[in-house]
């Protein structure tokens, strides 16, 4: 799981938005700089991102499930909340650890790194939301109110 989320957030090694050092910390490089026995932030934040996105999907499509909340702007509003929340969570968790000095001191972590990782998490949450709202089946199970509320053809 760690490697899966790591490659996801590091954009499959192509161009991560943050330094290798933050990547090592998020993999769980421990405070003694010896092994990956520290908190596996990639895994935690990855699951939080998936959970939050699914939660807001359920909220919009199954709980609210209202003809008054199925327009293009409502899809984007939910997407924006997901993006912001995931950005905030992915920023604040490593940032707090950095501030507390609770990481391997051989790693150099910067504010830009924390912002870069937060951006990665936000983008992936958007992609996930876009994907799950694109599939026909679970959306249709919610009934007729949000049948056409997708990125591709939201009701305007």
């Amino acid at each position: 799981m760690r490697d899966f989320f790591a490659s996801l957030y590091e954009w499959f090694g192509l161009s991560p938005f943050y330094s290798t050092d933050l990547g090592e910390h998020l993999r769980g490089y421990d405070i003694t700089c010896s092994d990956y026995t520290g908190t596996p932030w990639y895994v935690y934040i990855g699951w939080i991102m998936i959970g939050l996105t699914i939660f807001f999907y359920i909220l919009q499509y199954y709980i609210i499930n209202s003809p008054g909340f199925n327009k293009r702007v409502h899809w984007w509003l939910t997407a924006l909340v997901i993006i912001l929340l995931n950005f905030f969570i992915a920023f604040i968790l490593p940032w707090n650890e950095w501030q507390a000095g609770d990481f391997c001191k051989q790693l150099r972590i910067t504010l830009a790194d924390c912002l870069g990782f937060a951006a990665s998490n936000a983008i992936w949450s958007f992609i996930l939301f876009l994907l799950i709202t694109s599939f026909n089946i679970p959306r249709r199970w919610a009934g007729h109110n949000t049948t056409d509320t997708t990125f591709w053809k939201p009701k305007s």
Binding site: T20, E24, T32, Q106
Partner: protein, 462 residues
């Protein structure tokens, strides 16, 4: 089989890795090595490995297979025979109260009070052993030290005119065995005499010393420690032509310790030498290279040049290595290793000298620094090795620590002591020291062999 085929031995790391493989495997053929409590039956496994390698015609004995409870018997007691050379050139070290006397008293006291010393025997030696005090008690040591004066040296007799170091070393080393370690204290200045060609004499002594040590090493797992100390000297120095020169200055002298590897390791572990009052200047340890032990190390995330990942932790491989894009270091790749050399018999300074390392890729340059700052992440580690290259490629970089003569020996050697009276630098040197050390070193570390003391292998992948 690859474990043993590269060096004809299975070390601790290889053995443990094999045990883990057996534990993890479901192969029924491995079940014979697993006891009811799921632990490995080490004796059965060792026995099988021995049979297996014999069948594969790989020369390996039971001693070459590391075993969990195979720690050397460091608790065994042994006798310590102390020899003080009392040739005339030593008188200057014992006139009045000197640092020499303090250090020797301190050393003898350390041995006497140690838990490994059975009997402490005190001797004077020149061409022969001229005096012996067996099983010296505390008061005997005090008396021995108080009597360390030129008059006592003369009284103990023998041929004090020349220092035949080869003969002295031969006599001392010959008495070393598994029950007896030996300490030889001398200025180790060769005395070619005025009728001999100094260079020929030194060469002959070197060859003689070498042969004596090689012969002894065939019979005993011999190790040796040499420490260089300094003391005030007030007396007559005899130069290479035996011409007397009156000196009043600081002069180096040496304490050699001989024993089997376990005895020498015990002496080092108990820090007997480190607690000598006033300390010592330098140390060399000669030990058979077959004693190669695995090193504790970790790859550091910093300092580095370029970038890399440590996907398997600090002891694993370097992956995704890339060269630096920064202007100052563009095209370079570098990483650092923190290593623990404290279990090595060599002096810590030995590992600071990069000439004592051999890299499998000559395109890498090496610098070594001691770890002095308290750092939790470097706890238990003693040196930082910084490696750098301008040709990054996929490889297994081998870093070998090789046994050789440290540079201080060259710096402390005199090849002509005729002008010692007027040359201050010469007063700090020892005539022929290099020949003496080379004679011994060639026995332990023959120039025809690789003489690897320790080795670290790092996998680097781009």
């Amino acid at each position: 089989m690859s474990f043993a085929s590269n060096d004809n031995k299975i070390d601790e790391k290889e053995y443990n890795s094999l045990v883990e493989e057996i534990k993890a495997s479901n192969d029924s053929s491995f079940k014979q090595f697993v006891k009811e409590n799921k632990e490995i039956d080490n004796s059965k496994l060792a026995e099988y490995l021995l049979k297996f390698f014999t069948a594969k015609k790989i020369s390996l004995t039971a001693k070459d297979i590391w075993q969990p409870n195979q720690a050397p018997n460091v608790n065994a007691k042994f006798n310590v025979d102390v020899y003080i050379e009392n040739s005339a050139s030593m008188d200057g070290y014992v006139r009045g109260v000197t640092e020499f006397e303090t250090a020797v008293y301190n050393l003898l006291g350390n041995f006497k009070t140690s838990d490994f010393c059975d009997n402490l025997n005190l001797n004077y030696i020149n061409k022969n052993i001229t005096y012996t005090k067996k099983n010296a008690l505390r008061e005997d040591i005090q008396d021995f030290i108080e009597r360390l004066e030129p008059s006592t040296f003369q009284q103990r007799g023998g041929d004090r005119g020349v220092s035949d170091l080869q003969k002295i070393l031969h006599t001392v080393v010959e008495k070393v065995d598994d029950k007896n370690a030996a300490i030889l204290i001398s200025d180790f200045v060769f005395s070619p005499g005025k009728n001999n060609n100094a260079q020929d004499y030194l060469n002959n002594q070197q060859v003689g010393i070498n042969i004596d040590f090689v012969e002894k090493m065939k019979k005993l797992d011999l190790s040796a420690i040499v420490i260089q100390l300094q003391s005030n000297f007030d007396g007559t120095y005899y130069d290479k032509t035996n011409k007397p020169v009156s000196l009043h200055c600081k002069r180096p002298y040496y304490i050699w310790i001989f024993g089997n590897s376990a005895q020498v390791k015990t002496i080092l572990d108990k820090k007997i030498l480190d607690t000598i009052k006033g300390g010592y200047l330098h140390r060399i340890v000669f030990s058979p290279t077959k004693e190669m032990a695995s090193l504790e190390y970790k790859i550091l995330r910093r300092p580095r040049i370029g970038d890399f990942k440590l996907e398997d932790g600090a002891k694993g491989a370097i992956t995704d290595a890339s060269v630096s894009q920064e202007t100052a270091t563009k095209g370079l790749f570098g990483f650092s290793l923190a290593v623990n050399f404290s279990n090595s018999m060599q002096d810590s300074n030995y590992f600071l000298d990069t000439v004592n390392y051999r890299l499998s890729n000559s395109k890498y340059s090496l610098t070594v620094e001691p770890i002095t700052e308290p750092d939790e992440t470097l706890r238990g580690l003693t040196h930082i090795l910084k490696l750098q290259t301008n040709e990054l490629r996929d490889e297994n970089l081998k870093i070998d620590v090789v046994g050789k003569i440290p540079t201080w020996v060259e710096n402390s050697t005199s090849i002509d002591d005729a002008a010692i009276a007027i040359n201050e630098d010469e007063k700090q040197r020892t005539f022929g020291l290099k020949h003496l050390i080379e004679g011994v070193s060639d026995a332990f570390y023959p120039q025809s062999s690789e003489n690897i003391i320790n080795t670290i292998s790092i996998s680097i992948k781009k």
